[in-house]
Structure formats: structure tokens, C-alpha cells
Amino acid sequence: MSAGPISAPEAPGSGKAIRRPGDRVFSGLAIAAGLTILIVLAGVAIFLIGEAWPAITAPVSDLPDGKSLIHYIWPLVFGTLLSSTIAIIIAVPMAIAVALFTSHIAPKAISMSVSYLVDLLAAIPSIIYGIWGIAVLGPASVPVTQWLSDHFGFIPFFDGPASTTGRTMLVAGLVLALMILPIVCAVAREVFQQTPKGLQESALALGATRWEMIRMVVLPFGRSAVVAGSMLGLGRALGETMAVTIILSVTGTITFDLISSENPSTIAANIALQFPESSGLDVNVLIATGLVLFAITLAVNMFARTIISRREAAGGR
């Protein structure tokens, strides 16, 4: 028996329970990395506020177009909310259906590859969605929007006159919907798969059809998670830049008309369009709008996380 020295006080008299130098260094590194997150975020907030401050305090006459900051930002906020709302209205039902398809409808053998395809949607760069939207989806939408404005022109959304290029709010919203579909779908798919097998089987044993089982068991079980996932998707849509920048023909008007060639811009798209050419106070104004965008997405994301954590606390997982 090798009688190894059981007491090898590495730090004699330190008084504390012994911690090895390796442990100390390594856990120190890990904590430092954790703190880096806090520092970076604090940095983001401080630097953005610092750079936005000149714009907030500047006299109205110095601001672009001589408009006050609120008047400058408001149409952008409107456009941001409008495009994201369209995206969420289209994406959520589709995402639920796609998630149900992978979790309950598709044969086991293909449901795995099916999820890969949906994940792949998330991996495509937004700039490519943008140029696809303007080159393919836009032109393809023209006959449809034309028809909508001819027959449903009495609805404000389809007031027209329909754009002849397809560079409309509707197309931008559709492309945004495609981009957030995988996010919402991933959350929904996971929670649908977690639906307790016992509940599902007892519903089927009572004679329910598969659809009745989904409606009575799976959808109610996943409801709050789907809401949370939709919020995450909304957060992404609000901050999405390039697809909107490329697709939308921007005039800055505030209108609910989704199919005309006169559209409000979004905060992110406005920054992308203006920033490369801007200098001086204009840059500060753009950063101030970025700060507003940050605040909006932060609120939406925090709302989503609250739902998720409340769900986890309730043992919903």
C-alpha cells in the first residue's frame, strides 16, 4: 500500500478549506468569462446612450429635416411594428403547423430530416432572403396584390394602388415571416414533443382521433411556450435589417396600405440606409433610434423569457 501523505496542506495556515491553485485559477477564469457578459452588456448600454446623448439634447433645428427626435423616430417605430406584426401573423400559425407536422404527423423516419430542413431556413443569411424577396417573391406578388386592390380595395390594408415592382410592406412582412418561422417552430416543436405520453395515450384510448387528441391535449399543453416562442420571433423580426432594407421602397409615409409603393421605413432599415452616408449629428440621431430599437426588443424578449421561466417554475417541462 503506498501510504501517500494524506495531509498535504498546500496552503498551510490559510485557514480556509483547501483549494488547489489549479482550481482557483480555473474557476477564476470561468467567473471572469461570466462577468465579461455583464461588462459587454453594460458597455453596449453605456456607449449607445453616450453616443445618442448629443442627439437627445440637441436643439430641434439642428436635427435632420428640422424635426424633433420623436417626430423623426415615430414613423420608423410605426414601420417596424407594422412589418413585424405582419410577420408574426403569418409565421405563428405556419410554425405551429410545421411543428405539429414534425412532432405528431410525419413518420418517425423522416421527421428528423424534416427538422433539419426547417433549421436550415434559419441558417440562410438575411441578405440572401432580401435579394430573393426582391427578385422572386416581389414580382410574383404583383398579380396577387393587383387582384387584392381590385377586389378588396375597401379594406385599408389593400387600398392600393398596387405596386408594380412588388417592393411592398406585404412582401417585406412575408420575408420576415419566413425568417422567424424556424425560431417559433423550434420552440413549439420542443414543447409538443414534451407533451406527456400518458395524456396523449389516454385521449386516444377514449376514442379521440389524432386531431382531437392534438386539439385537446397537445395544443393546450404547449400554449404558453408557443406564445413565448412567438415573442422571441417578434424580437428577431423587429431587429431584422437587411431584408427590409433591400425590399422596401421607402417613402416615410405612415400608412396601413400594405401593397402600395409608398411605405414607412423601419428603424433598422433606416440605420442601414442612412448610416454609411451620415456624419456629425446625424450619426448620433441614428444611434438614438438604435437605442429605441434596443429598448423595444429588450421589452419583447424579457416578456418572452418571463413566460418561459414562469412555465418552467410551474413544472411545465
Partner: protein, 351 residues
């Protein structure tokens, strides 16, 4: 799709459709609508829509007559869900087809080996942009991966109490930062030291790093959590200190998953355009120094070629598509490699 399993009569209608009824209806509808579309000279997309509608109509009528209302509703719901799924895939296919189709026109050796230096109109390439994307992403990855993995180790292996909760919360917050805001942050940070209007390759790296860190943390955290506690205990019981246990037992077990997560994170940020637009700017020639002057990159290259074409515009648009093809190839390779690694080298973990 594959027909319903349950065969118990459902009361109202007592009959049952043949096991492949859904497929039969789909096949018949596809054929019928193909005939209609061909006769009227309609597009494949219309054919798809008509097929969907025909399938839905035929199965609901047939099932309604034989099986009754509830079973018919079940079949309709199944088919609607499957059709929405197909509908969601149509844009993906169209997008990939368009990018490949349009991109191949200029996807030649000149495109891959030359820059846009002194090029007006035809010719030129994206070498400068590809190199820039590589440098910018490499720096971002080199910074984000160690920080992300260590922070995840803190959260899973060491963290407790309020600091852990705070960091978890702020990782979520960071996850939600819009990419353009990350770009503005990098700009604001560098402006303080270098003055207004500054554009550097490394600024793009900083912006991408901010976007990448939370993705790496989440992926790593998830992988560390599935490493069974029994392995940690086995190691501790052998008298191995905690840090060596983490480094030599926990991390190797989770390695494949972590590598997969990192590659997916790279795939996510490598196509980011907005943050680079406001930080790296664009330039026509090769610049390999991230600390000196503007640096071209693929996403911004695609954007500028497409959005601000010169004369003749076709030359610029074609270059944009070729750039998009290159970008999508890089992303796909990363994505597939990540999946492959996860499947090949993922250690099977007993649950």
C-alpha cells in the same frame, strides 16, 4: 400522410377507408391538377396549389361519406398541416434554386481569384470580400469561443446564487440584441478612441463577437448539462480535482456537441450584413489588416452590388448573385459539417 393507425369504428360512419387513402387522394389530385395546369399552361406553383386543394376536397368528401364527420375532420387536419409544411418549404427550395441558378453565371475562377480593384462594369470578383469575411469571422470566433465556453462552464459547473441568475438573464438579453445594434455598439466603442467616421475590419469582429457569445454559451451550456453527473462523481472519487475533472472528463464528453454549437454559431454570424455595414464599410481591393482601414466582406459585397449597381447593371447583379451563392455554400458546408460531427463523434450518453 401515411394513413391513420386507429381502426376502431367511430360511431357515425362505420366504414373505414383503405390504409393509404390519403396518398391515393394525393396521387389522383396531383395527376388531375397536372392535366388541368398543362391544358391551361399554368405554372408549377399553381399546379401545387391546385393539387393541395383537390387532395383536401377529395379526401374530405370520401371520408365524410364512408367514415363520418370526426374521422373526416381528422384527415382534413392532417392534410392541412402537411400542406402548410410543404408550403413552408416552397420558399426554401425557390430560394436555393434562384441563388444557384443566378449565381452560376459569374461563379467562375475570375470571381474567386480577383478583387474589384479598378473594375468598372464587367469582370472582377469577390476575393477581397471572401478574405475579409474570413478574417473578420475568424477574429470574432477566436474571441467569442473561449469566453462563451468558459462562461457556460461557470453557469453549469460553478455558478450559484444571484450572480448565476444575473448572468443567465443577461445572456438572454444579449441573445435578443438586434444585429444592427451590435454594429452601432462597435462603432460607438471605436469612435471614442479613433474619432468619428472610423471603419475597421476589427470593428466588425467586435460586433459579430457580441452576437456570437450568447449563442456559444447557450449551446455549450446545453451540452454540459447532458453530461451525466455520474461521470463527474467517478472522477472526483478517483481523487481528481474539480478543474481537471471539467477539463479532462466533462469537456471531452461534451466536445462534439460544443463543436457543433460553435459551427452553427459561425454559420449564423458569417452572413450578418447590417452590423458590418456600419463598422467595416466597403472597399474594392484586398485589405488583410483588420486594424487598418476599411475591409470588404461577402454580405456587404452582395448588398452593395445589388443595391447600387453601376453600368451595365447586369454585371453588378450577377456578381451579387455569385456572392450570394458563395455565401450560401459556406453556410451550408458549416451547417452540414456541424450535423455530421454531432452524429459521428457525439458520445452516446446514457440517460
Amino acid at each position: 400522410m401515411g394513413g391513420n393507425v386507429a381502426t376502431v369504428p367511430m360511431g357515425e360512419g362505420s366504414g373505414a377507408l383503405p390504409p393509404r387513402a390519403n396518398l391515393i387522394c394525393f396521387g389522383a389530385s396531383a395527376a388531375a391538377s397536372a392535366a388541368v395546369s398543362f391544358a391551361l399552361g399554368l405554372s408549377p406553383f399553381v399546379w401545387l396549389v391546385v393539387t393541395g386543394a383537390f387532395t383536401l376536397a377529395s379526401i374530405s368528401i370520401w371520408s365524410m361519406m364512408v367514415e363520418g364527420r370526426r374521422r373526416a375532420l381528422d384527415r382534413v387536419a392532417t392534410i392541412v398541416i402537411a400542406e402548410i409544411f410543404v408550403l413552408a418549404l416552397v420558399p426554401l427550395l425557390s430560394l436555393v434554386y434562384t441563388v444557384v441558378n443566378e449565381g452560376l453565371a459569374r461563379f467562375d475562377s475570375e470571381f474567386l481569384t480577383t478583387s474589384m480593384r479598378n473594375v468598372l462594369g464587367d469582370g472582377g470578383g469577390a476575393l477581397h470580400a471572401a478574405l475579409g469575411t474570413f478574417i473578420i469571422t475568424a477574429i470574432a470566433t477566436a474571441a467569442a469561443v473561449p469566453v462563451g465556453i468558459l462562461a457556460a462552464i461557470y453557469l453549469v459547473e460553478y455558478g450559484k446564487g444571484r450572480l448565476k441568475r444575473a448572468i443567465t438573464f443577461f445572456v438572454d438579453v444579449m441573445m435578443g440584441i438586434p444585429s444592427i445594434v451590435a454594429g452601432l455598439f462597435a462603432y460607438a466603442l471605436f469612435e471614442i478612441f479613433f474619432g468619428p467616421g472610423i471603419r475597421l475590419g476589427v470593428m466588425g469582429s467586435v460586433a459579430l463577437m457580441v452576437l456570437m457569445i450568447p449563442i456559444v454559451i447557450r449551446a455549450t451550456e446545453e451540452m454540459l448539462q447532458v453530461v451525466p453527473n455520474a461521470l463527474r462523481e467517478a472522477s472526483f472519487a478517483l481523487g481528481v480535482p474539480k478543474w481537471l475533472t471539467i477539463l479532462r472528463v466533462v469537456l471531452p464528453t461534451a466536445l462534439a456537441g460544443i463543436v457543433t454549437g460553435v459551427m452553427l454559431a459561425i454559420a449564423r454570424v458569417i452572413g450578418e450584413t447590417a452590423p458590418l455595414l456600419v463598422t467595416t464599410g466597403s472597399i474594392d481591393s484586398v485589405n488583410l489588416d483588420p486594424f487598418n482601414g476599411r475591409m470588404a466582406n461577402l454580405p456587404v459585397f452582395v448588398y452593395e452590388q445589388y443595391k447600387f449597381p453601376g453600368v451595365p447593371p447586369e454585371a453588378y447583379i450577377e456578381r451579387a448573385w455569385a456572392g450570394a451563392l458563395l455565401l450560401i455554400l459556406i453556410v451550408m458546408v458549416l451547417f452540414l459539417a456541424a450535423r455530421l460531427i454531432a452524429r459521428r463523434y457525439g458520445v452516446e450518453i446514457r440517460r
